[in-house]
């Protein structure tokens, strides 16, 4: 399912859609987490603050009630140490000395009276003195030598001394860090999973759209009977397919209509033409004198021209509507051109024209042989009719960009500038032309019907150039080659 695209998957619409959808989803979940994180952090802090405040009050109480004798330090110190063991959010206690809690009592002059905690408490004392903690509410305290700040609650005793209880925020931060890590992993998993699901579904959906597109492009003017595939589901995609098929129905029916009209027109005109021609031929065979035969002969010739005009008109009309019916087969352009030149060379040299072909190898196209024959005959007729004597025609056949390129150069007067613009329209012809003005329109029509192009221009060195490009036969074509003649 994913392999059919020739272009890399990064350039597919499914990739872009999933990328944007995932981005929006990732941003949304990230935002939710930020709020959650803040809520959790605040809650943890509030809890440790409540513990600190309660504990410092108990300690203050104990300190006040304990007589200031030799045992004071031990009693208060033990109570403080005991309190330190009930630290909330305590996750790890791998270090033997409890450095997450400290207890400090200072005298009214700010000097240290009692210290329970890691180290000698000097940095902590200094930090407290500089921070000047007075409020009853716990605040943050950065102590030199500790990476994480302490949360410190204080209470003033009646004797003017202060009791400080500090709790390291290390455990609290550890909780938050582990929360962040878990969330991040979960988030990554969800985002990747979400991306996968979105990519899969859009790819599935779009591959159906692509199949519709491929089918629609396959349905060229040659195969209007095919239809795009329709899924069982009644979603937008199947609606698209249905709409496309309805459109194709209408195109097919109008194409059919056009064919019916041109066919019946051809039939209705050709039948009387056949009868007239037959009668003229019969009366011609009955005539003995040359003078009497002349009008009959010229009538027959006029009739043949009229027939040719009718055929070309209908072909051009159908081709303009991209409705020319082709019966394709392999056709060697090189061989065909050689035969054509063989056919036209005597007439050209009779008129003093030179014709030459530059082509090196067989060049096979997949085309309607009868139409291509008539197209090339038309090109040659054009040169023969419009070139003044002593000119030369050069035909070059080559392969350019997967197409057979047929370039017809002459060194005649070239096209009239005002005619050049709409050379391929019906009934446009040069001032001195005695044709019916369908020649180039027909050439263009045939090239278009085969998916090719015709360009007419004037060469810089003088003379006209007609470039016909026709798609080459596909290499893996299964048709057996049909001779050009």
């Amino acid at each position: 399912m994913f392999s059919k695209t020739a272009k890399p998957v990064m350039h597919s619409a499914a990739w872009r859609i999933s990328l944007w959808a995932t981005l929006a989803f990732a941003c949304g979940t990230m935002l939710v987490f930020v709020f959650l994180h803040r809520f959790v952090a605040d809650d943890i802090q509030r809890r440790s603050d409540a513990w600190l405040s309660g504990e410092v009050e108990v300690l203050g109480d104990v300190a006040e009630r304990t007589p200031k004798d030799a045992l004071y330090d031990r009693v208060v110190g033990e109570v403080a140490e005991l309190a330190g063991k009930e630290v909330p959010n305590k996750l790890l206690s791998e270090s033997s000395s409890n450095d997450s809690v400290f207890f400090l009592q200072t005298g009214s002059d700010g000097s240290r009276q009692l210290w329970v905690g890691a180290g000698d408490g000097e940095p902590t004392l200094k930090a407290i003195q500089t921070a000047k903690i007075v409020s009853d509410h716990p605040t943050d305290l950065h102590v030199q030598g500790f990476g994480v700040p302490f949360r410190v609650a204080s209470i003033r005793l009646d004797d003017g001394s202060y009791i400080y209880l500090g709790l390291s925020e290390r455990d609290e931060l550890r909780v938050l860090r582990s929360l962040r890590l878990r969330f991040f992993l979960l988030w990554l998993l969800i985002v990747l999973f979400g991306f996968g699901i979105v990519f899969y579904t859009t790819q599935r959906m779009l591959s159906h759209v692509r199949r519709i597109g491929e089918a629609a492009s396959r349905i060229g003017h040659s195969d209007l009977t095919a239809r795009v595939p329709i899924t069982q589901k009644h979603d937008e995609i199947s609606d698209l397919a249905l709409t496309l098929n309805h459109m194709l129905d209408r195109i097919e029916s109008s194409m059919h209509q056009l064919h019916t009209i041109t066919d019946s027109l051809a039939h209705d005109l050709r039948s009387p033409l056949t009868a007239i021609r037959g009668k003229l031929e019969m009366s011609l065979s009955a005539v003995m004198q040359v003078e009497q035969a002349e009008p009959i002969v010229s009538s027959i010739e006029e009739l043949d021209r009229l027939t040719d005009f009718l055929n070309k008109s209908l072909d051009v009309a159908e081709a303009k509507a991209d409705a020319l019916r082709l019966s394709r087969g392999a056709l060697d352009l090189d061989e065909l051109l050689r035969i054509m030149i063989d056919l036209y060379e005597p007439s050209m040299s009779e008129k003093g024209l030179q014709i030459s072909l530059q082509s090196s190898c067989p060049l096979t196209i997949d085309a309607d042989a009868a139409l291509i024959h008539r197209m090339i005959a038309n090109l040659f007729d054009n040169e023969l009719k419009h070139l003044p004597p002593a000119c030369s025609v050069t035909i070059r056949l080559s392969v350019e960009d997967d197409a057979a390129s047929l370039i017809l150069d002459d060194d005649g007067p070239g096209f009239d500038i005002e005619v050049l613009q709409h050379l391929f329209e019906r009934r446009v012809k040069g001032k001195d032309s005695n044709g019916h003005g369908l020649g180039l329109a027909f050439i263009d029509a045939v090239a278009r019907a085969h998916g090719g192009t015709v360009i007419a221009s004037n060469r810089e060195s003088g003379g006209a150039r007609i470039t016909v490009a026709l798609p080459l036969a596909s290499k893996q074509g299964s048709q057996s080659p049909v001779p050009a003649i």
Partner: protein
Amino acid sequence: MRLLLVEDELDIQRFLKTSLAEAGYQVEAAADGKTAERLAIDSQFDVLIVDLGLPDQDGISLILKLRQLGVRAPVLILSARRSVDDRVRGLEQGGDDYLTKPFALAELLARLRNLTKRNSPSSAEATRLRVLDLEMDLLRREAIRSGQLLQLTPQEFVLLEYLCRNAGRVVTRSMILDQVWGMRIQPDTNVVDVHIYRLRGKVDGPGQQPMIRTLRGVGYVLKDR
């Protein structure tokens, strides 16, 4: 030679009947498929001419039906339609040759001749052709008139060979284009005439009886008498 003509346009049927009779055919005509079927079953025909656009049925289906009924005679399909598909279909589905309307009588006769010849056991392919004092050796690719070797290009040789094979009969320009160059095209220019003109210059030497005759509005004849 018995011929069944199936053509609904009475004008065309009439002149075809006359011309075919003149050419030596015994013609029975039918204006629709029903009559044609009846006639084809009742009697034996050597060749059939069937128009594709019949009032009661499609020409192709008529041919198929006749083939099923055991009619073996070759068929020349006349078509006023323009799509090539029909021609191919016609050829594939048992018709032996086709001709689009309007056509030259000479071409119709030539195709009929080909069809009947194709169906009869042909004698071994001749390697020499002889018309009056013109002789062609097909193996050595040489043409001799009155003992004199003609200097012909390969293309001129093929053209002369075609004229010789049809000596005494009219060949049209489109027949020549089809048979010699293998194209069914209608050039607006006189390309075929120039080829004939050149060939005539080589075949009909000064003082000799002219052999290649132009029938204006019709085509050419290589005289055999």
